[in-house]
């Protein structure tokens, strides 16, 4: 079972859209896939038409007192299940803080699912916190969406540095461009030039496209609702890159 996590310190950069679309593609490729919506906003749960509610809340979950399989929901895509979000996840740091080995708890939640899934995709909340440290510990790879702008790249450097220096078992980092606006010269230049100098950045850009925004209306992955769109093609290309890099 491989664990991937869509993560960025910044919010609103396309994490949830990437998590939902990549999970859908994984399931369509025949991988038994679980998407864990760890963001208290519950964006992924909403997009998959599943109520963002976990019986017992985040505290029970991270303290090992929840029967995890009973919390799972099947999505409309055969082979893709969801561990839904819950608004109580906003206090997950507090719940983790009082536990033994607080940076390993999320990995322990996933441990009983080892035999049932080939891939777990975790959609994380932004910011560096105890929750994100847990994710860094559990994940085989972090998928980092980057808006091709100076500030965004600076944040990415901060994240890479932190993971390499502070995390005991650092996951592989795979960054990709997100919300790319082809009309902007800066976006075009960054997308063309950065992957050559940074091997942890894959040369794929998810466009800032209407179809991606319409996911909230259709409540469906772009790769399902508009499989021939530019955005869907970009997600498929990204998924191939990720598969090759992490070996799933």
């Amino acid at each position: 079972m491989k664990v991937l996590a869509t993560y960025n310190i910044k919010g609103g950069v396309g994490k949830t859209s990437a998590a939902v679309n990549l999970s859908a593609l994984a399931a369509r490729d025949g991988l038994r896939t679980l998407l864990w919506d760890l963001d208290p906003q519950g964006g992924a749960s909403f997009l998959l038409r599943i109520q963002a509610k976990v019986k017992g809340g985040g505290r029970k979950l991270v303290r090992g007192r929840a029967d995890v399989p009973l919390l799972l929901r099947g999505t409309d895509i055969d082979g893709l299940d969801l561990l839904p979000a819950d608004f109580s996840y906003r206090h997950l740091d507090l719940a983790l803080d009082g536990t033994k080995r607080p940076t390993r708890r999320l990995g322990q939640v996933l441990a009983p699912l080892e035999d049932y899934y080939d891939l777990v995709m975790v959609d994380c909340q932004p910011a560096i916190s105890l929750v994100s440290e847990n994710v860094f510990d559990a994940a085989d790879a972090l998928l980092v969406p980057l808006i091709p702008s100076t500030l965004s790249l600076r944040t990415f450097d901060q994240l890479s540095g932190y993971v390499k220096e502070e995390v005991e078992r650092p996951p592989e980092i795979i960054a990709f461009f997100s919300m790319v606006d082809g009309r902007k010269k800066l976006h075009r230049e960054v997308v063309e030039q950065l992957p050559a100098s940074r091997p942890d950045v894959v040369p794929v850009g998810i466009p800032a496209a209407t179809e991606v925004e319409l996911m909230g209306v259709h409540r469906e992955a772009v790769v399902e609702s508009a499989p021939r769109s530019r955005a869907a093609r970009a997600y498929r290309q990204l998924w191939q890159e990720i598969r090759n890099r992490v070996g799933v």
Binding site: G30, R32, L48, R49, P69, G74
Partner: protein, 534 residues
């Protein structure tokens, strides 16, 4: 049962209806549901998805191992692609793997790595997956939505036709209803409607069984070389019983011959040889039920078939056991013996070509026709419907004749086994093993007319003894075979390295043979104290 084992139920479409009729009735029932009521479960809406037409070749081994394990393997071909789709009875989801569109038969080594291969490997082993029956299927997927338009139950309504020739034959359609993880209540509701309101009956047969029932012998015959115990009556005339058994074994030879000649997998030839060996055993052990002169001619015919097929089978066994054998070598030496494997494979190719030519030739046809004529003649002798065969024991009850033979072979084994000590040559153990095979065949073929418990105990004890004797002899043969490669290997590039590595393997085989011999006394002690079934 885990929460992941989601219920899947399969119902039959009633005769005279098709999948579309069932869907229409289900839509009517769900729309007349509790929507109008204030309380009660939320409304459910079935949404039909596009129909899929596929050609579906049911694949299985010739002895239907997948069917027996509750698996359906279909080769689904659409216009531009083909995939192997594996469905597990009652399990969630399917596994699929893409395969070349033109391929119809598969060995394990043809399958791409992945879940399908992992699941099939321990079941099919060396057997080939062959097309058993071709079906056309029209699948109507239906999603049942809750008020959030979320799928909470999945249905597949399927119309099926078998296409053995030009005219399709309609098979009973099926309705599969599958729960979605985390939504047990909508599943229970839809399942209840299908069963209680529409009166659909659970499917108790597999599609391939339905096809077999309708098409009968148009399906490829499953091999019968490992038949269930023959149901004989204790008072059946021994000649009649023997001829019936030999007839079944002859059927097994004929069922396996085409697969053996096409070299589909090594088991066809193996099963053919097992059937011939059993037939020889019956001729030998029940010789007093047959006409002696005719029996001698036919015994020679069967011996000839066994001799013709022997070299290919011996080399098959060596190749099948090769990986396990060389696994005993250190990693760095394993490549050294690759040249020996190539020599074996070439010899096997040559032996197969010779065997195929012989089995397609006139001598085989004549001998086999003679064997079939002999069986017919034996069955006809007497003409009174009471007994057959023309030897002195032909009309005696089979229980007495077979029971007597079992007693006799057992006693002979006990006598010979007691004479074996640490100094006895390997041939003594080999001879004992051959008698053990005779006894095993007698028990398997005629055991049903004898008391069950002593037969069962004797079979179990004999099996334990034969395992040791078999291991002892196999190691001897393997060592001899490896040594026999030496002259050819010595002349080949890399041959010297291979010879050194093979020397290490031969030593290893000798150790295993010694270990088997050490276990013999203990196994034999358990065997010699048995009660003889009579």
């Amino acid at each position: 049962m885990t929460p992941f084992d989601m219920p899947i139920r399969t119902y039959l479409v009633p005769a005279g209806s098709n999948a579309a009729d069932v869907l229409a009735e289900l839509v009517a029932l769900l729309s007349a549901g509790p929507k109008a009521r204030r309380k009660g479960p939320p409304p459910l809406a079935p949404v039909a998805r596009p129909v899929q037409m596929t050609t579906w070749n049911v694949l299985d081994t010739a002895d239907l191992r997948l069917r027996d394990a509750g698996l359906d393997l279909g080769l689904e071909t659409a216009s531009a692609s083909a995939q192997l789709v594996l469905r597990e009875n009652g399990a969630r989801g399917v596994s699929a793997v893409r395969v070349p569109r033109s391929q119809r038969r598969f060995r394990l080594q043809d399958l791409p790595a992945g879940r399908v291969k992992d699941r099939l490997a321990p079941l099919i082993e060396v057997r080939a997956l062959l097309p058993i029956v071709e079906l056309r299927r029209r699948d109507q997927p239906v999603e049942v939505h809750n008020p959030d338009a979320k799928t909470v139950v999945r249905l597949t309504l399927t119309d099926l036709w078998a296409t053995p020739g030009t005219d399709p034959v309609r098979l009973p359609g099926r309705v599969e209803v599958a729960a979605v993880l985390g939504y047990p209540k909508p599943f229970a509701r839809v399942d209840g409607l299908l069963h209680d309101r529409l009166g659909l009956q659970p499917a108790t047969t597999r599609v391939v069984d339905d096809a077999a029932a309708l098409l009968g012998d148009q399906l490829p015959a499953a091999t019968v070389s490992h038949p269930p115990p023959f149901e004989l009556a204790a008072d059946d005339p021994a000649g009649d019983a023997a001829v019936r058994i030999l007839g079944r074994l002859a059927d097994a030879v004929e069922a396996n011959l085409p697969g053996a000649l096409d070299d589909l997998d090594p088991e066809f030839l193996h099963d053919l040889r097992v059937a011939v060996r059993r037939s020889r055993s019956v001729l030998r052990e029940m010789k007093r039920v047959f006409d002696p002169a005719a029996r001698r001619v036919q015994a020679e015919a069967l011996r000839w078939i066994q001799a013709v097929t022997g070299p290919t089978r011996d080399l098959d066994v060596q190749l099948l056991e090769w990986d396990e054998l060389v696994a005993h070598l250190p990693d760095e030496r394993q490549e050294d013996v690759e040249v020996a494997h190539r020599v074996l494979a070439a010899r096997r190719g040559e032996a197969f070509r010779r065997m195929k030519a012989t089995l397609r030739g006139s001598e085989y046809q004549e001998r086999w026709a003679g064997w079939r004529r002999f069986l017919e003649d034996q069955a006809a002798v007497g003409g009174d419907g009471q007994g057959v065969g023309s030897g002195p024991d032909a009309h005696r009850p089979v229980r007495r004749v077979a029971g007597g033979r079992i007693r006799s072979v057992y006693r002979r084994m006990v006598r010979d086994g007691r004479a074996i000590d640490d100094q006895s040559p390997a041939e003594a153990l080999h001879d004992l093993r051959k008698r053990g095979k005779e006894l095993r065949y007698l028990l398997e073929l005629f055991g049903s007319v004898l008391p069950e418990r002593p037969v069962r105990r004797m079979v179990a004890s004999l099996k334990a003894l034969q395992d040791v004797l078999g291991r002892h002899q196999d190691r001897e043969i393997q060592a001899d075979n490896l040594r026999a490669l030496a002259p050819e290997l010595a002349a080949l590039p890399g041959g010297a390295d291979a010879l050194l590595a093979l020397g290490a393997l031969v030593d290893r085989l000798r150790v295993e043979q010694r270990e088997a011999r050490e276990q013999f006394a203990e196994r034999f002690a358990a065997f010699e104290g048995l009660k003889v079934p009579s």
